[in-house]
């Protein structure tokens, strides 16, 4: 089962911190993250990949959906 969080509109570094805390909490599984800036997308992707999570990026209009899994 996947969980979903929405970090749209949050200033740096809250998107990456929020997602990082969630990943540390769930440890395994799938996390869907809704994002609205390229900066948050890059930061979260880099953080998750460095922590050995797989990241899939889907562009949805002007927003992004990251599917992070382990």
């Amino acid at each position: 089962m996947s969980e979903k969080i929405d970090v749209r509109g949050l200033s740096c570094p809250l998107p990456v911190v929020t997602v990082r805390n969630k990943l540390l909490e769930i440890k395994k599984g799938i996390l869907e993250v809704l994002i609205d800036t390229g900066t948050a997308k890059d930061n979260i992707t880099r953080m998750a990949v460095n922590a050995d999570w797989k990241v899939e990026v889907k562009e949805e209009g002007e927003e992004y959906l990251l599917i992070i899994s382990k």
Binding site: R8, G9, L10, S11, C12, P13, L14, V16, V17, R20, D36, T37, G38, T39, D42, N43, R46, M47, N50, E62
Partner: protein, 363 residues
């Protein structure tokens, strides 16, 4: 593929090197010593040119600031990242920008100039750097405690265009230099404000930096913050590259003069070199990024970052009008007091906009 390249480790290193070399070269071409690029000082000079303060030696419309916004705007448009957004506590951001500028002018430099002063051999900058890191560290404590300025909202495109349009206005004032009966637009005839690289070279170099920084998300405050907060060294590598590139360039261009006494546009009161940058570091961290980053964000449509920039420019006016800014002789009459008051205001903002206050209420 290009998008991946821009966020690679190699590219952030390239960006840091480009900024470091550019700063040294802009100094060689006429900018003040150890101030090839200084976001705070250059915004302060703009405030002076507009007559927001009357410190006659620091008045000039710096094309570097304009170029940062234009370069970021172009990158954001090309890569479809220009998004007008606003509404995340703009007035708090204005206050944070105001206070960040006060702190920076007590030290005499923003985080960018801290690095460039170090690269020029100015030992006093070590105390500024220590203050900056301390301020960032305090900010991180608030972020860990749930500090949040709230979400922004997508808004009309025009809102995102306001800052680039202001910069266009400034550029026209720089080119045509109208002389009004009040004396504005003011341009220094002596002192740091009279020292400047050729307009179009400075503009072009700054536009390239703005472009690169928008793509790499370059930020001197996040560089330190991310290492401590999320153990990420990506931006830190960029900042170290900047420092080393500026150092080597200064050595080659014979602009390196090590020591503490008699350093250009600097003072030796280490307590307030440190204290000023604690305030600046904390205010930048609470606002989400260094002054350069705020310019790059305002170029990609972030109106809250634009409000922070305006807070800095107004803060520069107050800093000089109310004797808060330092000079080569040391802190201004009200500099130390303003840093202490500024720190108290930042702490109030940090406490009241984090979970700490909620927990206290629940208890």
């Amino acid at each position: 593929m290009w998008k991946q390249f821009f966020i690679s480790r190699k590219f952030i290193i390239f960006t840091g090197i480009f900024i470091g070399i550019s700063a040294a070269v802009l100094q060689k071409l006429g900018n003040p010593a150890n101030m090839g690029i200084c976001v705070a000082c250059m915004e302060r000079d703009i405030a002076g040119a507009l007559g927001l303060h009357r410190a006659a030696v620091v008045q000039y419309i710096r094309p570097e600031i304009i170029g940062f916004v234009f370069g970021s705007l172009i990158a954001a448009l090309v890569f479809k990242e220009f998004k007008a957004r606003s509404g995340s506590a703009p007035l708090i951001r204005f206050v944070l920008g105001f206070l960040a500028m006060i702190g920076a002018l007590v030290f005499l430099g923003c985080p960018w100039r801290t690095l460039l002063r170090l690269a020029g051999g100015d030992g006093n900058a070590l105390f500024g750097l220590a203050g900056l890191i301390t301020g960032i560290w305090v900010g991180i404590l608030f972020i860990k405690s749930g500090y949040n300025l709230g979400r922004n909202q997508r808004t009309y495109p025009l809102v995102g265009w306001i800052m680039p349009l202001i910069m266009m206005g400034l550029f026209l004032l720089l080119l045509f230099r109208p002389q009004l009966p009040s004396g504005a637009v003011f341009f220094s005839s002596q002192g740091p404000g009279s020292q400047n690289a050729p307009i179009f070279i400075a503009l072009l170099v700054a536009m390239v930096i703005g472009f690169l920084a928008q793509r790499t998300r370059f930020c001197t405050v996040a560089a330190v913050r991310d290492v401590i907060l999320i153990k990420d060294t990506y931006l830190f590598t960029g900042v170290i590259s900047l420092l080393l590139a500026a150092l080597v360039s200064n050595l080659i261009l014979k602009q390196f003069h090590s020591g503490f006494q008699g350093q250009p546009i600097a003072h030796i009161n280490q307590l307030w070199n440190f204290g000023g940058m604690v305030l600046a570091g904390l205010a930048f961290t609470l606002a989400g990024g260094c002054p350069g980053r705020q310019l790059f964000l305002s170029g990609e449509g972030d109106a809250d970052a634009a409000v922070f920039v305006l807070g800095m420019i107004v803060g520069a006016g107050f800093a000089h009008n109310f004797a808060m800014a330092s000079s080569a002789q040391g802190p201004g009459l009200w500099g130390p007091a303003s840093v202490i008051i500024g720190l108290i205001i930042c702490l109030i903002i940090g406490f009241s906009m984090s979970d700490l206050m909620k927990k206290k209420k629940e208890a």
